[in-house]
């Protein structure tokens, strides 16, 4: 079970959180301006990288806030967590 440092509450066990998928995918300001392919890409296509992955988490059973984490998908190491809206921090690995 992961130990996730919530940027608002500090380290808490994974069971307090919900996973929210890949981070930094903004909903288009005007979806009607997108063709089907572009909309499908926003809706369905994700990177699924092997290595550092910026992803959304919500501290559901805590502060209930969404935030972002960079997690290495090979090792499950959490390299950084940061607040929604902040840029993805540089991580060493």
């Amino acid at each position: 079970m992961l130990l996730i440092p919530c940027p608002y509450c500090g380290p808490r066990p994974e069971s307090e959180f919900s996973y929210g998928g890949e981070a930094h995918i903004a909903r288009p300001a005007d979806p009607s301006a997108l063709d089907d392919a572009a909309w499908a890409e926003f809706l369905y296509l994700r990177r699924n990288p092997k290595g550092p992955h910026a992803e959304r988490w919500r501290h559901t059973h805590g502060c209930a806030r969404f935030f972002n984490a960079v997690r290495d998908t090979r090792t499950d190491k959490i390299l950084a967590t940061y607040r929604t809206g902040e840029p993805k921090p540089e991580t060493s690995k």
Binding site: S18, G20, R56, T75
Partner: protein, 1002 residues
């Protein structure tokens, strides 16, 4: 006297405290400090089990958690029965009752042993090869027979009478294993001020030192130093010592699961104590001081009772004061075997011969053995043993320079101590996803690259020799503290150690012999009855991957996970393939290290505490009225209120008629409720729901439909606007958390600029629904400050006022098609208000109804239930809700997806009604629908039944269905194929009753 084979002195047992116990119905005596195994052997009982496949007689192999043979069931009754416990780890208490397993009718006379005679016919992969034909026979015949013949213990026949608890702790340093390395690591960590947890699976700390008579530390016996060391560690103050506690699982981010056996060793446990505690330990740093397990030697007939690991021999003699036999043979590939021989001699046991596989043996221990006058045969091996229920002789032969064995000499003995060297216990390291490294000098895998914040210490990483182990333990404990960000430990205490070096010689794989291989069984995996021959056969049949060999032969797949067998299997595969061990690789260790009880894993989560139960404020009233309840998510909901002699159908028919003809009362408190508040609340609602909210006047309500971004219906519910900046949103009973989570997601991450606040109010409000023509008349006298007249308060409106003197949000809303109100009051007031309304309704024949009636009434009206009519692939238009979509809105969640061409195809499944030809036939929900009943399977499915009931109002069955292009099929006859018959149905409008909606005004 506690057994004829008990030594007069020595050991860590208390001869003054005798204990009685029973094994297979026979009564024996042991003493305090004994294990079941040591007490049985003290009584001369070596036969403790039957093997898994061949039912061969088996005795103790090891005194530790690697024991594969001596597995027994323990418990005075079925509520306290635990199967498959290792006899060498069961602490004896007065009155203990144990039984052997996998034998019929008796342990010493087992009919299943006939398998042993047929063993040439039962090679590896036997099941896969043999039970192929006829196809159906596996399930009906072969599998039940094999299951009855093969196996371990039986499950208890009653519910577990014990209590189990779980604890969650954080610490700086967790030390697993309290042998010499672990004790020193914990001492170093404690001295630096760390919060330390030290656990060990044994009842006493000390590990190998408890069985060691040779070693001394600072001039005192090793065991005495152990006590001093523990006292010093404990005095540091921030230390938790956990004996009888097995670290069985290593999880991500240094979460280690420990199973603590609290009362299993007690004759009369305190009833307030749990049987076991499951510790969830989150450690900053972990020290794995798990020691090493001894390797058996794989020689013909190496499984007879009386043959055991040299370490077990030493433990029996030195720790438990027990003679494992009267005349012993030692078979060894290292100096450790000589230590056992010397311990036996000191205990007065005749050592007939020491057979050493090595060409030379000139360490200090072999020299001591020779000085003691023992017969030492180097370049020697055992090529067979005899004895039915206990070994009675060993056949010893010399190994020539060509590797072939010479003629064998029979040596009479009733005990054989064997040692093939040691294998570091890397299980937890491996579970933590650390990468193993093969050490050619040790012929063993040792921890290589760590994945978690841990380090191994002592024998667990291949460091042997007491002085080196103690030094390494201290060093790893100190490094753990530094890595945890604590200050370093003080200087390591000076230790003056006296020990005899046992070296690191080992043997891997089968030992040589000159016998006919067809009739020889040299066991590699004792618990799963896998022989060297089976492993070689697997390689001959083309299995080259060690993972495939493991699964084909089942070697290492028993409950001991191959603790004593994995390395020997590797050795045999490596020799057969002509590859090195690292080329062959290794199998994967998985949790649990040793079996864990279901009770410990479940903890308090059983019975009523298994899952939380949500109850409404009206539930006690409904219970008192005799309601039948159903589970809806975590809620208990009243399903119907049967009167004397009524079944569900009769009760539902009565309830339905009462609502349509008079008035019914229904507990709708489980409805999800979210308060949406803020200057931008209307804009937020516009974006979240398909409907338009801007123009909704305060005091009016609207049926809202919410989509996911992919355009499919996610939830629905009536939404009331209480003020320009305040919405009372209701959701489906099960959908409330989902809806709030999605709202929060958009609000926090997409539109953080909106000034909106969301609050879950599901449990703040009790909701009392009054439905039926007399609904208004019932509540009118109770309501203050609200004009209930239809002109003042039309259908789909909401008012704030008072009812029975308490504040209410009163909704005029209907899920039945009748005039209806939903009275929202504070949950604490709900029971009183419910009872007042019920009393006021008495003169109108007010009838409580449950969810079943609610379903029938709404189906008569064609109202959908999200999750019943919809399945995550339905658009609003598919379920007849296209009218709700705000066509002029620029955007809302899901709008862009609805614009995809596929979402508008005319052949999408659409909501329709179905009427069976025979009005008494009620279709099954989920049944498939076809157009052509004559088509051969596989038939073309064009839809499915989503809701189906007998409608008391209409006096016939009705059904809702999703049918491809359904709205274009009105009046068509379709077919529902069922087992034995096909039911014709005609397609109709889904609104079966009052299609004009006249009854909404009462």
């Amino acid at each position: 006297m506690t057994g004829a084979f008990r030594l007069a002195t020595g050991g860590r047992i208390d001869r003054a405290r005798p204990l009685r116990f029973r094994f297979d119905g026979n009564e024996y005596n042991g003493c305090a400090g004994d294990t079941l195994a040591s007490a049985l052997i003290a009584n001369g009982v070596h036969l403790m089990g039957r093997s898994f496949k061949y039912h061969r007689p088996r005795g103790l192999l090891s005194t530790g958690s690697d024991e594969p043979n001596a597995l027994v069931g323990v418990g005075r009754d079925e509520g306290h029965y635990t199967p498959n416990l290792r006899a060498g780890q069961i602490e004896l208490y007065d009155g203990l009752v144990a039984e052997s397993q996998n034998r019929y009718p008796r342990l010493d006379f087992d009919l299943g042993a006939v398998n042993d005679l047929f063993s040439p016919l039962i090679p590896a992969g036997f099941y896969y090869k043999t039970f192929m034909w006829p196809a159906g026979a596996w399930k009906r015949f072969y599998e039940p027979k094999i299951r009855a013949m093969a196996g371990l213990g039986r499950a208890p026949r009653g519910p577990d009478a014990d209590r189990y608890v779980q604890r969650f702790v954080h610490c700086d340093v967790l030390v697993v294993g309290a042998g010499p390395a672990g004790l020193m690591a914990a001492r170093a960590a404690a001295a630096s001020g760390a919060r330390v947890v030290l656990c060990d699976e044994q009842p006493e700390f000390g590990g190998s030192l408890l069985s060691d008579r040779e070693a001394s530390i600072n001039g005192m016996p090793a065991a005495q130093w152990v006590d001093q060391s523990i006292a010093e560690t404990a005095s540091a103050g921030r230390v938790t010592l956990l004996p009888r506690t097995t670290a069985f699982g290593y999880f991500t981010h240094n979460l280690v699961a420990l199973a603590e056996r609290v009362t299993d060793h007690l004759a009369a446990p305190d009833p307030y104590l749990p049987r076991e505690r499951l510790w969830h330990v989150r450690a900053r740093e972990v020290v794995l001081a798990t020691g090493a397990t001894e390797r058996p030697l794989v020689f013909p007939d190496n499984d007879r009772p009386g043959i055991m690991l040299a370490g077990a021999t030493r433990t029996l003699v030195n720790r438990y004061g027990v003679k494992p036999g009267a005349r012993a043979v030692v078979f060894t590939a290292n100096d450790h075997g000589y230590g056992a021989a010397l311990d036996l001699v000191r205990a007065g046991i005749d050592v007939a011969s020491i057979a050493d596989l090595r060409p030379t043996a000139d360490g200090t221990l072999p020299e001591a053995a020779r000085r003691a006058g023992l017969t030492v045969r180097t370049s020697s091996t055992i090529v067979g043993t005899t004895g039915r229920l206990r070994v009675d002789s060993a056949l010893i032969a010399a190994i020539g320079p060509d590797g072939k064995t010479g003629p064998a000499q029979t040596v009479t003995c009733d005990h054989i101590a064997m040692s093939g060297g040691f294998t570091p216990a890397v299980h937890l390291f491996s579970q933590s996803k650390g990468r193993l490294r093969f050490d050619p000098a040790l012929q063993a895998y040792v921890p290589g690259v760590s994945a978690e914040r841990e380090r191994s210490a002592g024998a667990a990483r291949g460091i042997y020799g007491l002085a080196a182990v103690l030094a390494d333990g201290w060093a790893q404990g100190e490094s753990a503290c530094l890595d945890a960000g604590l200050r370093g430990s003080p200087k390591r205490p000076q230790l003056n150690i006296r020990e005899r070096d046992t070296g690191t010689d080992t043997w891997l794989g089968a030992t040589p012999h000159n016998r006919n291989p067809i009739f020889v069984k040299a066991f590699v995996d004792f618990q799963n009855d896998v022989t060297a021959k089976d492993v070689k056969l697997a390689v001959r049949e083309g299995f080259e991957s060690i993972e495939h060999v493991k699964r084909y032969t089942t070697s290492g797949m028993a409950t001991d996970q191959g603790k004593t067998s994995n390395m020997n299997t590797l050795g045999i595969v490596s020799a057969a393939l002509g590859k090195t061990i690292p080329e062959v690789g290794h199998t994967t260790f998985r949790m649990p290290y040793t079996p864990v009880t279901f009770g410990a894993l479940a903890g308090m989560s059983r019975g009523a505490l298994f899952d939380p139960v949500r109850t409404t404020p009206v539930q006690p009233w409904a219970e008192a009225e005799g309601a039948v309840f159903e589970d809806v998510g975590l809620w208990k909901r009243a399903r119907y209120f049967p009167r004397q002699g009524e079944d569900m159908h009769q009760a539902v028919a009565r309830e339905c008629k009462a609502v349509r003809a008079g008035v019914g009362i229904f507990d709708a408190s489980t409805l999800g409720k979210i308060e949406v508040v803020g200057p931008d609340a209307a804009e937020f609602m516009n974006r979240m729901y398909v409907n338009t909210w801007t123009k909704l006047e305060p005091g009016r309500t609207r049926y809202g439909v919410m989509l996911r971004e992919d355009g499919f219906v996610m939830d629905d519910g009536v939404v009331g606007r209480l003020a320009p900046d305040r919405f009372h949103v209701t959701t489906t009973t099960g959908g409330a958390p989902r809806v709030l989570a999605m709202m929060e997601d958009y609000l926090q991450t997409e539109w953080p600029d909106l000034r909106v606040w969301l609050t879950s109010t599901t449990e703040e409000w009790g909701v009392i629904a009054l439905q039926g023509p007399n609904a208004r008349k019932v509540i009118e006298p109770l309501v203050e400050g609200i004009d209930l007249d239809s002109g003042a308060m039309p259908h789909m409106s909401v008012r704030a006022g008072r009812i029975c003197g308490v504040p209410t949000r009163l909704f005029r809303v209907s899920f039945t098609g009748e005039l209806g109100f939903e009275v929202n009051v504070g949950a604490d007031h709900a029971p009183a208000v419910w009872e007042a309304i019920f009393a006021a309704g008495a003169r109108f024949g007010i009838t409580p109804y449950g969810t079943e009636t609610m379903h029938v009434l709404r189906a008569e009206k064609g109202y959908i239930i999200v999750g019943q009519e919809t399945d995550g692939t339905a658009t609003p238009d598919d379920v007849g809700l296209g009218w709700a979509v705000g066509k002029t809105k620029r955007d809302f969640v899901g709008k862009r997806s609805l614009a995809r061409a596929a979402m508008g195809r005319p052949d999408r499944k659409q909501l329709v009604g179905l009427l069976t030809e025979d009005p008494r036939t009620v279709l099954e929900e989920g049944a498939q629908i076809v157009a052509d009943p004559g088509q051969k399977p596989p038939m073309t499915i064009i839809g499915h039944v989503t809701s189906s009931y007998f409608s008391p109002t209409l006096g016939r069955s009705i059904a809702l269905a999703m049918v491809a292009g359904g709205r274009g099929r009105m009046g068509d006859t379709l077919h529902v194929p069922m087992p034995g018959r096909t039911i014709p149905v005609s397609v109709t409008n889904p609104v079966f009753f009052d299609p004009e909606g006249k009854r909404l005004d009462g």
